[in-house]
């Protein structure tokens, strides 16, 4: 038995251990702490990449905790009783997103988070959030889904309210925390309903049992409510701009990944667990919420004057694109036409693209705040004179987000437009309109923050090379995925989308056996 079977659990365990050992390391020496941090980060990213390669080449990987063999999923009575991690292509794809954003955030934070402002504890919480997020994406068990959901809740809200010496940050954290706890409790209630009915917590087993009866539907409603809230669908999105706007830049991009983890949870529930009993109405609901999210968030972005909050509304609108695409896929799941598959591929691809370009923009906003001492667009200006790289990265991210070819946002949006057109042209019209508005919003932001004559802004500090390195990682992804979208789609996106579209049987077989 080679060590590679243990990769799924190492992916979660290493950042978890790293989080709790970090304060101890800091007691010894600051250098040791930074070394430990980089070591844990590099090891986690390496594990995730290994895991992804294994899953994309060898199919679903199952890891049963506490069993003699990793693939001994069934107990003596032919019934999955143990906790297990089930990694299919979609999980691996999401873990790659977490690796990208977590890695970039870690590099950026090394130069961004100031010593003496709780760097040690902030990085501990970051590792905890990372571990929780990865657990959410890899688990094959409903109750651990809830536990990891709550780990991300506590870690994320701790990070949002971290700057307790400012008045806005605890406010954002309180609001987000109330919403997250409620979402978590809805999920727990759904877990209880499902357990009461089937006496099991394993997702694959539940999936094989669910017929779509009244209690199943109640559980589905609770899950949809909790996960749509955490994904930030309008009108349950209002915590999102508060949280993204007030958190540190390195936190904000991990929050984006966390939001996408909730979206992954939603996909896992509706496609895999309820795949056999899904009705088009749920698909239409998700589609409608997606369209509403796109439109409302973009309109709100138009009038924002704070750079962080403006980008935050941009991030919410992108979630709308993913919901729209997934909704199109879900509404057509019964007949499985080709455009439903393309829509799902577009949505899944857009998750990665959104992670890269929104992450880039949020990191740039952090750099702007650092360099100018403020994020208010009314007093910013002329930063391009001094911060050449940051302005370049911001422009790149903004163009990619608005879907300007040949950057990565265009490829996935094109897939979403063309496939949602087949379901209803109105959806496409809304999405295109939103993209145009988004371009206007970000051109304004760019002009306001970077162009114009130099201004003497007080409280500005230089941007460190580590911050630029963090941004560069994401910028490379934005350009690379834009230039070779076909390769990315063929080797990563298509397997991930197919895992949702047709992979339910494979998922069930991997856990429950032939």
């Amino acid at each position: 038995m080679s060590w590679t079977v243990h990769v799924p659990i190492l992916t979660i365990a290493v950042p978890l251990l790293g989080a709790f050992a970090l304060p101890l390391m800091a007691k010894v020496h600051r250098r040791l702490r930074d070394l430990w941090l980089v070591g844990v980060g590099a090891f986690t990213v390496a594990m995730i990449v290994t895991l992804a390669v294994q899953v994309f080449t060898g199919g679903v990987q199952v890891y049963t905790l506490g069993a003699e063999a990793a693939d001994a999923t069934l107990g003596p009575e032919g019934f999955p009783i143990r906790i297990m991690l089930v990694v299919d292509a979609m999980s691996a794809f999401m873990a790659l997103i977490a690796a990208l954003l977590g890695g970039a955030a870690l590099v950026y934070a090394l130069g961004f988070v100031e010593e003496g402002k709780g760097k040690t504890l902030s990085m501990s919480l970051f590792l905890l959030l990372w571990a929780g997020m990865l657990g959410l994406k890899l688990t094959g068990d409903m109750f651990n889904f809830f536990v990891f959901f709550e780990i991300t809740t506590v870690a994320a809200c701790g990070l949002i309210g971290f700057r307790a010496w400012e008045s806005r940050s605890p406010e954002a954290a309180f609001k987000t925390l109330v919403m997250y706890i409620l979402g978590g409790l809805l999920v727990l209630l759904a877990v209880g309903v499902l357990y009461g009915q089937y006496g099991a917590l394993n997702m694959a087993f539940l999936s094989s049992q669910i017929q779509g009866g009244a209690l199943d539907r109640i559980a589905l409603g609770l899950l949809l409510g909790g996960l749509l809230m955490k994904a930030g669908a309008v009108p349950m999105h209002m915590w999102a701009p508060d949280a993204y706007g007030e958190a540190d830049a390195n936190t904000a991009i991990v929050l984006v990944a966390n939001t996408q983890a909730a979206l992954y949870g939603l996909f896992r529930m509706v496609f895999t667990m309820y795949g056999g009993a899904s009705t088009p109405a749920v698909g239409w609901l998700v589609t409608a919420l997606g369209a509403l999210t796109i439109l409302v968030a973009v309109l709100m972005a138009v009038i924002q004057t704070d750079l962080g909050r403006l980008i935050a509304y941009g991030a919410v609108s992108q979630i709308g694109f993913m919901l729209l695409a997934a909704g199109v896929g879900l509404a057509t799941l019964a007949t499985r036409p080709e455009f439903g598959r393309v829509a799902l591929q577009g949505g899944v691809f857009h998750m990665f693209n959104d992670a890269a370009c929104i992450g880039l923009l949020l990191l740039c906003a952090g750099a702007v705040r650092r360099a100018a001492g403020t994020g208010d667009l009314r007093s910013l200006g002329g930063l391009a004179h001094t911060e050449v790289w940051t302005s370049g990265f911001f422009l790149l991210g903004a163009l990619a987000l608005a879907g300007i070819p040949p950057l990565n946002g265009f490829a996935s949006k094109l897939m979403i437009y063309q496939s949602s057109f087949r379901l209803s042209p109105i959806l496409t019209a809304l999405a295109v309109l939103a993209s145009i508005l988004l371009l206007a919003v970000f051109v304004r932001a760019f002009q306001g923050a970077f162009l114009g004559p130099r201004r003497n802004l007080e409280g500005g500090q230089p941007i460190s090379p580590a911050m630029l390195a963090g941004m560069a990682v994401l910028a490379v992804v934005v350009i690379a995925f834009g230039l070779v979208p076909d390769l990315v789609v063929r080797h990563m996106v298509a397997p991930a989308a197919d895992a949702l579209w047709t992979g339910r049987d494979v998922y069930l077989a991997a856990v429950l056996g032939g």
Partner: protein, 115 residues
């Protein structure tokens, strides 16, 4: 009918908690509302695993053929209580910090972030 009473009570607790969250504006009362929902959900989980006349799932002197209540929901509930304690502590901490900054606990006045 009497067997369903715990479920009814747990749902009443959840609804009461939601009602608190929607009608009260004091941050501490919001925390209380959340704890109410939490307890409702916990009660729901525990009562799921109850077997009529069952004994505790871990009991050394249990007779060989005695029915036992299901242990899994109890484990879930314990985990959920611990998690609930952590989130409630965090919630109250933020309420204290907000009070220090603003001098108020009225949610209607704590709206620097809006629009």
């Amino acid at each position: 009918m009497i067997g369903n009473l715990p479920f009814v009570v747990s749902m009443v607790l959840v609804v009461l908690g939601l009602w608190t969250l929607m009608t009260r504006r004091n941050l501490i009362k919001l925390a209380v509302g959340i704890v109410l929902i939490e307890n409702g959900v916990n009660l729901f989980l525990v009562s799921l695993g109850y077997v009529r006349g069952g004994i505790a799932p871990i009991y050394t002197f249990a007779p060989a053929d005695a029915p036992m209540v299901m242990p899994t929901p109890q484990a879930l509930t314990l985990t959920s209580i611990v998690i609930g304690m952590a989130t409630t502590a965090l919630l109250l901490t933020f309420a204290v910090v907000i009070h220090r900054h603003r001098g108020t606990l009225d949610a209607g006045k704590i709206r620097e972030l809006r629009g």
